[in-house]
């Protein structure tokens, strides 16, 4: 028996091996998670089959499947998916376009860093959900309060991570930059930014994760559609089969978008940040 290989991270030994081992690794990469998934479905089925919980409190896989088809046919699910994705995208883009430059600036200025770090940390540890009442009073109902909450959830970790990354750039890069006359804006775009890009991508993934968790809660209060609203409505109608549908979609979409963001780490000019 050979040891199972960690998927997506071929060790030196795997690379040295023959292509058959490579194929085996690829098959395992899909086979192992599929086995876990099937086992989970099976447990879920058994639990509902023996009526451990009443049917209204834990819907069976079959009931969820039926409800999923129904939601898709009614077109509501697609509509909710688009609404949620839109809000997260807008909120996330706003916090990235403000948070990354803010982090770059703070990272370069010691006194600004000293001045702002406690404040940024304070807000980072404040759950974005605490802002819900303000969000609704300030932005009323619709996309805006949700976007605001997404922004509050992702701006602070992003700015802080970028700042920390800039502050720890090896000084040798700046000395080299000086030798070759990099100054001002060019220094920022050609040296500082690429030097922190791998860490910025990592923090984008992390803060996207937070944003995706927050959107569900945000939509439960301030919205008339969206995945979070869907769950809320299912709860009100005691349609937990529908709620589980939404949960599955939320989980899958979250994973899918993280996959997309992971593609950024495959850019050739950031590989160095993950390989050494």
């Amino acid at each position: 028996m050979t040891e199972p290989k960690i998927p997506g991270r071929p060790s030196a030994a795997v690379q040295a091996d023959s292509t058959t081992t490579q194929k085996q690794t690829n098959t395992l990469q899909y086979l192992l998670p599929a086995i876990v998934l099937l086992a989970l479905l099976f447990i879920w089925y058994i639990v509902t089959y023996v009526n451990l919980f009443p049917a209204y409190a834990l819907p069976s896989p079959g009931a969820v499947w039926k409800s999923l088809l129904e939601e898709i046919r009614a077109g509501r699910l697609i509509n909710d998916v688009i609404a949620s994705l839109w809000r997260v995208a807008v909120g996330f883009v706003i916090s990235a376009t403000l948070g990354i430059p803010a982090g770059l600036w703070l990272g370069q200025h010691l006194y600004a860093r000293k001045a702002f770090t406690p404040m940024l940390n304070f807000f980072r540890f404040l759950s974005p959900l605490a802002w819900i009442p303000f969000a609704i009073l300030w932005f009323h109902i619709g996309d805006k309060p949700a976007i605001f909450l997404i922004f509050m959830a992702s701006f602070f970790p992003l700015a802080l991570a970028t700042m920390a990354a800039v502050a720890t750039i090896p000084s040798i890069y700046f000395r080299v930059a000086k030798d070759y006359n990099y100054k001002g804006f060019e220094l920022l775009t050609k040296v500082t930014f690429p030097a922190v890009l791998p860490e910025v991508i990592t923090s984008l993934r992390v803060s996207y994760g937070i944003a995706w968790v927050v959107i569900v809660a945000a939509e439960m209060v301030g919205c008339q559609d969206g995945l979070g609203y869907g769950i809320w409505e299912a709860r009100n109608g005691l349609r937990l089969d529908s709620a589980v549908c939404y949960m599955i979609i939320i989980g899958l979409l979250g994973m899918g978008i993280d996959r997309l963001l992971t593609q950024l780490t495959k850019l050739p000019n950031v590989r160095w940040g993950y390989e050494r």
Binding site: I172, V176, P194, N269, R276
Partner: protein, 245 residues
């Protein structure tokens, strides 16, 4: 011609330490140091570790200002570092092209790039990133980068000390060959006595902190010099005895 013009310019380069003293707080690092580097000369500084060799290079590069005395710097100065001096987000050719930033003509720049890649024998590695190269290859890229374009003076801060012994021997030979093709003024800091004896026109043996020049040694044997070359062996003996080893 491009290369010819550079040589003339390089002949006008100046690098002088005039009565320079330096300290970090209460730590007195340099005391009344005088150094006049002739254009085209290879000056090697050797001395016990922690004696202030790197401080001298930092003063010469303008990275720090001396507490007293003056530093005269004329010409384009570039530094080769011990390691990690390449930008990891740029490929080999992109890193080298930093050295060609002052060359405005794109055709000329491409021609120079091809020449440099050929010079350091890294054909086929143009689009490789530094982390995919060996230590010796990386240092060769650094050499190409500092030699590119309009540089006059090269400061080398133990550039080969993180390499294994055999690679180090090869890189010394490589440096001699490159300087043969592209003349530059060089100030080279090392703790490696062999390296000093093989490379230098002039060796300055430094005392321990605060650093002063204990001994100046001229070596006029032609390069490349074999390790067993009598001139090299003689120089090594002199340096060793000066260091009390």
């Amino acid at each position: 011609m491009f290369v010819g013009a550079m040589k003339d310019k390089q002949a006008n380069s100046r690098l002088v330490l005039d009565n320079v003293s330096h300290s970090f707080g209460t730590l007195h690092v340099l005391h009344d140091m005088n150094l006049d580097v002739n254009p085209g000369e290879v000056v090697v500084l050797v001395g016990p570790s922690g004696c202030g060799k790197t401080t001298i290079l930092n003063l010469l590069s303008g990275y720090i200002k001396p507490v007293s005395g003056s530093v005269i710097r004329e010409g384009v100065i570039r530094t080769v570092y011990q390691h990690d001096g390449l930008f990891p987000w740029l490929t080999v050719s992109e890193n080298i092209s930093l050295g060609l930033r002052s060359v405005k003509d794109a055709a000329l720049r491409n021609k120079e790039m091809l020449e440099l890649i050929e010079l350091i024998h890294l054909e086929g590695f143009e689009h490789t990133y530094p982390h995919q190269l060996s230590g010796g290859m990386r240092q060769r890229v650094e050499l190409a980068r500092v030699l590119a374009g309009d540089s006059d003076i090269l400061l080398m801060d133990e550039p080969f000390s993180s390499l294994d012994y055999q690679t180090r021997l090869r890189m010394r030979r490589e440096l001699v060959r490159l300087l043969e093709k592209r003349h530059r003024t060089v100030v080279f800091v090392t703790h490696d006595i062999e390296e000093a004896a093989q490379l230098a026109d002039r060796v300055l043996v430094l005392s321990s902190r605060p650093a002063t020049v204990r001994r100046e040694l001229l070596i006029d044997a032609p390069r490349p010099r074999d390790l067993a070359d009598p001139a090299v062996i003689h120089a090594m003996k002199e340096i060793l005895s000066e260091l009390g080893l």
